[in-house]
Amino acid sequence: MSALLEVTALSAGYGQVPVLHDIGLTVKRGEIVAVIGANGAGKTTLLLAICGHLRLTAGRVVFDGAEISREPAHRTVSRGLVMVPEGGRLFPFMTVQENLELGAFHGRAREQRRARLEEMLDLFPVMAERRRQLAGRLSGGERQMVAIARAMMSLPSLLLLDEPSLGLSPLMVERVFDLVRSLAERRGISVLLVEQNVGEALEMSSRGYVMERGRITKSGEGSVLRGDADVQRAYMGL
């Protein structure tokens, strides 16, 4: 399997404050990869830097064979690299359908908008019932589902998910994770997942990275990291 995303020696920060140091990471096609770590470790910042919301101070990001280290976020989306921000960040005063349609903003996705919309509504029957409702009225779990569906409207090959389980009930967490798993298995979409829900995240990921204070300190197969004594003590409370 070839690498879809390849990050080498990446450093980035906010203004004068450096946050990420010398990050190296790969995601292969069809793979779910988890990034775990404590609050403030730089996980969200890493996602922002990869998809062009944040300028890099050093390093390279190669996606699907093309270097995108200097590309702005709106351009990386049309390449198939799509981020689902923390909390979903829907447009609250637009309807569910309008939110989905806005996911198909760039050329290629725009052409397939209608078919894609029906497909998403089929995939989420709950969403079909609520397509004319304002997105702001949805529950947290529904919002996360719509956010992932909106990202799917952009025809992604790699989804960057920022804490999709944050603030959800255990039942909803399971449904969101099931969805992510099925997107990877049935549609061959790669996923880079940032999570605090360490146990479950590692369970469904083929590989994982552990971040501490802006650096990657450990990496390995999901099952191996799950059994790692340091990881268990620090993040799983075992």
């Binding site: 998809c51 919301h53 702005p72 976020a73 709106h74 989306v77 049309s78 799509v82 981020m83 689902v84 921000p85 960040r89 829907l90 447009f91 609250p92 005063f93 637009m94 309008e98 349609e101 806005l102 996911g103 903003f105 760039h106 996705a109 909106r150 990202a151 952009s154």
Partner: protein
């Protein structure tokens, strides 16, 4: 999204409704003047609403574009003898150019900081125009001689001005209706709600803001040009007044319903006549009282009509249809 035919029907019906006050006021010069001015202000508020309402970029510097339209038309007409119809083109062009120059740095600011920065540009323009003898004739302003004729956009019959302003309002509203359903319109709405999420959805946020601002500024310059030919006099305190021009566009949109097509029209329809009535009845008793009453009314509107008249009406209708 409603179908194209329904939207077109709504637009035409709405415009007919807007035309009604003019027909009613035809015989009464006092009311005709109020209606004419209300059309102009509604058009200007509608132009502001494109970037301020749809795009959520709360500009208080639109007086600059208004001033460009008014001054450029007055200067080219009196000095070079250009027809005001022709001067609309350079006025729009210059307004767009200045809009892009102002926006490039200020669009990096969010929320109140953007509003304050754009307001500062309005004040800078005021000082500059006031100071320069050439070409703006400093504080004396420019008097436009009365030479009636269609080519000069100067009319003996006052109703022709009303038709002119109505045409402007219809143009702005038509553009707003089209824009609301366009790709750019959706981009503006999305970035108003959540700039970061819009960027994550693949929208070029800066480009969308600049395009919205350019359209808004060009239309505002047209309004400024019409204003100059209607008053036939431009001077710095009139054109760059924050309370009557720069902030007024935003205020009318807010009261009517910001970010909606009908909002600016409803805002102007309510505020312009009430303002005139207050001025004529209260000024004799207690000079300045009209402004106090109007100010208090606006505070109340801000407190209780959060989404303007349109929002309040939609709430009422929604309660009736949904339950």
């Amino acid at each position: 999204m409603p179908s194209g035919a329904r939207v077109a029907g709504g637009f035409l019906g709405g415009m007919l409704l807007v035309l009604l006050p003019m027909l009613l006021a035809l015989g009464d010069p006092y009311w005709l003047d109020i209606v004419t001015f209300a059309y102009l202000m509604a058009g200007l508020a509608g132009a502001w609403n494109i970037i301020g309402g749809f795009g959520g970029q709360f500009s208080l510097g639109h007086g600059v574009f208004f001033g460009i339209g008014a001054y450029l038309t007055a200067i080219l007409y009196t000095e070079a003898g250009w027809s005001p119809w022709i001067t609309l083109a350079p006025a729009m062009l210059l307004a767009v150019l200045v809009a892009l120059l102002i926006s490039w740095p200020t669009f990096r600011l969010r929320g109140p900081f953007f509003a304050i920065a754009t307001m500062a540009f309005n004040q800078v323009a005021f000082v500059l125009v006031n100071y320069l003898d050439w070409p703006t004739n400093g504080p004396r302003g420019i008097l436009i001689p009365f030479r009636a004729g269609l080519a000069n956009m100067i009319f003996v019959q006052r109703w022709r001005y009303a038709v002119l302003m109505f045409g402007f309002l219809a143009l702005v509203t038509g553009i707003a209706v089209l824009l609301r359903r366009s790709r750019l319109g959706y981009a503006l709405l999305a970035l108003r709600e959540d700039e970061d999420a819009a960027r994550a959805a693949g929208i070029n946020v800066l480009a969308a803001k600049l395009e919205g601002m350019a359209i808004s500024a060009a239309l505002t310059a047209v309004g400024g040009a019409l204003f100059a030919m209607y008053l036939r006099y431009v001077d710095p305190p009139t054109v760059f007044s924050l309370s009557d021009i720069g902030v007024r566009f935003a205020l009318l949109s807010l009261i009517g319903g910001i970010g909606t097509v009908a909002g600016p029209i409803l805002g102007a329809a309510l505020v312009v006549p009430v303002e005139n009535w207050l001025r004529s009845t209260l000024t004799g008793l207690w000079p300045g009282a009209d402004l106090v009453v109007l100010g208090a009314a606006m505070v109340l509107a801000a407190l209780f009509l959060k989404h303007g008249i349109v929002g309040a009406a939609a709430d009422l209708m929604g309660r009736r249809t949904r339950r």
